[in-house]
């Protein structure tokens, strides 16, 4: 592989649970294109591909880091937490949780001009989800190419029960994140790129550049809707989204 050194540095950080300095410190020429290549080379190490995740989908976050587009990462078998399965904190470096709207894709969708409307048409269901981020970099300090190479900080994720998307305005659904029974953040669906389906459409258009697309049965985590909250053993995280229900994650 073309980027064995970078891939093995990231793998070592993950398996030994020791954060590393950002790759761009060692490789100052790291750009987004190279970063997505590094990301793609890691796919095989995580089991079968099950979907995708979006990152940096809020305008506030984009302005903060000085970019005007989101990023994406892949989700594979090793990222999945089943309903009721606890998050084992010790298996991670510095996990943080955020609520997301999860799309379950009903039929293949690809193309460089796909819009939110087509995404909704190809969606079998939408669900509330909790994504557990875990940066392999010290204190989540990274440039955009760094975080792309690190698979957009993907850690684990859990998905609630999907409901059909028809008749839902995902822009306006209320989102509540609770930690230990206390409300820590709220939002509405619009927090991801103005509309979560628009975020998924962006992903489809980006994937088209490398000849890929969404497959029926895949899931897409459409972007964090609140700031991510750090978790430790003993914490219980609950994400609730109006009309979609809630999902709970216990941290051990």
């Amino acid at each position: 592989m073309a980027h064995d050194v970078e891939v093995s540095m990231l793998r070592a950080a993950r398996t030994e649970r020791v954060a590393i300095p950002q790759l761009s410190d060692t490789f100052p020429s790291l750009d987004l294109l190279t970063a997505y290549e590094i990301q793609a080379e890691q796919r095989a190490g995580f089991g079968p591909l099950v979907g995708w995740k979006l990152g940096v989908t809020s305008r506030a976050k984009q302005q903060q880091v000085g970019v005007d587009a989101p990023i994406y990462g892949f989700l594979a078998g090793d990222h999945v937490l089943d309903l009721g399965e606890p998050l084992v904190v010790a298996e991670h470096i510095s996990p943080r949780c955020e609520p997301e709207i999860v799309f379950v894709i009903g039929r293949d969708l690809s193309g460089a001009h796909v819009t939110a409307t087509e995404v909704l048409g190809a969606t079998a269901g939408v669900a509330v989800g909790i994504e557990v981020l875990d940066s392999r970099y010290t204190d989540y300090r990274f440039t955009m190419p760094d975080v792309v190479a690190d698979n957009a900080s993907a850690g684990r994720y859990v998905v609630g029960t999907p409901v059909p998307p028809h008749g839902l305005d995902l822009r306006l659904v209320g989102v509540v994140l609770e930690l230990g029974g206390e409300v820590v953040a709220t939002a509405s669906g619009a927090a991801s790129l103005g509309h979560p389906a628009a975020a998924v459409a962006w992903l489809v258009r980006e994937l088209a550049a490398s000849g890929e697309g969404l497959r029926a049965g895949e899931v897409v985590l459409s972007g964090g809707l609140t700031a991510a909250v750090p978790v430790s053993a003993g914490d219980v995280v609950v994400a609730t989204i109006d009309r979609l229900g809630s999902v709970e994650l216990a941290c051990r």
């Binding site: 409300v183 939002a187 509405s188």
Partner: protein, 261 residues
Amino acid sequence: MPITDAPGKARALYDARRDRVPIAPFTDADPTLGMGDGYAVQEQLVDLLLADGDAIVGYKVGLTSKPMQRMIGVDSPDFAPILASTALVSGGSVSLSTLIQPKIEAEVIAVMGERLQGPGVGVTEAARAVAGVSAGVEIVDSRFEDWRIKLADTVADLASNGAFAVSSRVVPLSQVDTRLVGMTLTRNGELADTGAGAAALGDPLLVVAWLANVLGERGIALEPGHLVMTGALHAAVPMAAGDVFRAEFDRLGPVTLRVVA
């Protein structure tokens, strides 16, 4: 210990409102002033404004989110009457010339259907007494220089209330989960912030219950038709002439305001 010169402080705020010239925070001269001192000034100020022919149309509750409470260093909300003269029309405009240093916030507004008075009001009693909820915005403003407020200052200054607008649509509680109702605030078509009802004390109905109990200690009741502004669902956004703000709530609809000079 009673506050020094509550009537004088109320008069200073009254003049600051009328002249739109901010004054130094009361806590600059006396850092020991607390919540009780603030309410003593607030009562006198409200009396002055009512004597001018204004009327109380409900109450606002502030400091309903943990981040705001931490910022001011308190662990409970505050409240102030809202006055008929500060009502704006959704779809209309708000003039900066009537305000000092305004910011805008989207809030769930509860409309009382029945009289409600504490003590002993819980969320169930609050839900029974509320006719429904509406989309709203509050324009907060401070009559103190540069928003340099401590608790006693903001309580005295009508909890920094400036103006408000409420949607004409009152949605019964059977049709909306006040905890989960989602909200987007856009400024000139661009998303400024989002939130959900739970940002206000965990549930806007808990805010109504809190208010009824606190007012009850003072022998005051929430009356049918009173509005209760249940607290901001996001960080307040500064306003400039030419801005168009739209707060849209799931199931409750929008409130729109144009900002003019």
